[in-house]
Amino acid sequence: MCLLHLPGRNGGINIKFNQFKMMFLAQLKLTLREKQAWFWGIFFPVILMVIFMVIFSGNSDEEFKTEVAVVDPSPNPASEMMLSQISELPVFEVKSGKPVTRDKAEEWVKNQKVDAAIILPESAEASSVILVVNKENEQGAAAQAVSGILNKFVQQANLLAAGAAPKYNLQYESITSGTNELDYTDFLLTGMIALSIAQGGMFGMVDMVEMRRKGLIKRLRMTPANMGIFGLSDMVMRLLFSIVQIILLSLIGVLVFGANLYINPLTLIIVFLIGALSFNSLGYFFSSFSKTTEAYMGVANICSFLMMFLSGVFFPIETMPEWIQPISAVLPLTYFADGLRESMVYETGLATASLWAGIAVMVIWGAVTFLLGSVLYKRKAIAADR
């Protein structure tokens, strides 16, 4: 402080710095003491993320398996060969490990102890394999799958019997556009970070409505306080809060759910700043036309809900009906979530056209809502004077 205390013009800078410091400290205390801020900013996103991660990524390792009974009425070379092949198929688990009588197998099917019973041919000549399933489960996934697998199995057996080798086979591979692979945990983690920062901006500006309603803005205008510095300190506070959100959610994602992050810091900083500022503008715009906090919260809730489900936070946009996808394509959260994925999971550098296209969409949203908000505030300042 003493170093900054210079005479003349610099005295003004000193006062402005002190004003910023005091206003920032006040904002910090207000945020820390506001229980709502803690709940919606920290607790809610964490809980939401944990719930989604537990529900949707918990059983992704589990493979499809079904229990069947095998009946081998009169063992012969053909049936023996089939039996050994069936036992080796990973999707089938043969109950009790060996063939049983047909009566026993049918009883198990009736009691739903097994999903199906496979009755092997009685001789090399009798070429039919019988599949017994419970009528109640006939259309069930397990019965369909067993019949499909068995069908393919019989076809191959036929080909083998005819002495032909299969010519085509199917290989399954998944690819992504990035250098690193994205699994659901990473997808959800980055989506949740985007959502909580977006909500911080959209809901956070409720303070403005409250301050205006209580006459606090008017009160500050009666002092020589610099309102620009006041706005700046508010903004810095919000950005800091968002950084806390990123770190907290990332830590939980990585440490508890094993998410893999490959961060490009420069891209992350740019995407984060643009995104956070544009969602704050959106909140500022809401506050400019909301007379009460209830009205503000209503608008913010509708927007946040729409974006939550239409912007690919929880599920990729491609999984949604095609007619909804154009809506997603204009929402800022779509690009914010994408940008965070690019910078936190794919390690994308700044020289990417699609990244800048997304940033441009966010900038447009931010700029337009900020200007609209400012115009509404100015116009209302006259009416609000009374």
């Binding site: 008017k218 205008r221 002092t223 004077d385």
Partner: protein, 309 residues
Amino acid sequence: MTVLEVRNLQKSFGSIKAVQDISFSVHAGEVFTIIGPNGAGKTTTLEMIEGLVSPDNGVIHFGELDWNKHAVSIKKKIGVQPQSSAMFDLLTPEENLNLFASFYDHARPAEEILEIVNLTDHRKNHVKKLSGGQRQRLAIGLALISDPEIIFLDEPTTGLDPQARRNIWDIILHLKELGKTTILTTHYMEEAEKLSDRVCIVDQGNIITLDTPSALIEKLTNEREIRLSFLDGEKAAEDADGFSKELPSVSKTEREGAALKIWASKPEETLLDLFKFTKEKSYGVEQVSIREMSLEDVFIAFTGKEWRD
């Protein structure tokens, strides 16, 4: 010395003329009170002087300074306690004062202000836990933080209990001792009478009258209301009514049954004459009273309206 001069202020909101034509000047060190019923234009007048609302017409001068050219200098000179005691509810009184202090180049220490507004014991509590009176005192404290020359207090005691109101009166009287100029609005007559050096009565956006409280009452003292009621019923009252109408100092009488009201500019003389008359006629007088005048009467006399708190 005049510290504030206001000439021909006018302000309309749509079709409502909130302030029609208000002019006055305030001297250094005085408590200047604007009094009037709700909707009289007090707050609008004050907000124009405080620079929050720009007047449709009229001039506001703080000595050499005016809002168009010297807004920041004026803001440093004045301290305002608005009607809505707006402050940061989740901060403590001390934190609120320190924050407001940072807006000015020269501010008084928060401890000093806490002392003046008697909140030292509560300086560490969040504002939202304070009582109405404590909040109001803090609002006055915030107006004092820059050590202003002129202090505006907009209905500082409205909605407070009598004790809390008295506490605020003490603060205002203390500010006067410190040589500050205070511009106060209220709709409590008692308060205006007790605190003010000069009172300005406002109704429907116009100044009705402006003077010291005693001079205002004085203006009416040559005419007081005498009330009599007669033991002998209507006939006696009727006779006395007829008699007093002939007296030179009586301007008006009103009779209701056996009760008689007489407005007289020399009430003692009128009473003497009346008693002579009743003794002559041997009418028994049950009750006699002369009503003391207050600002309330001044208000009623000037506006012709009943006063409501």
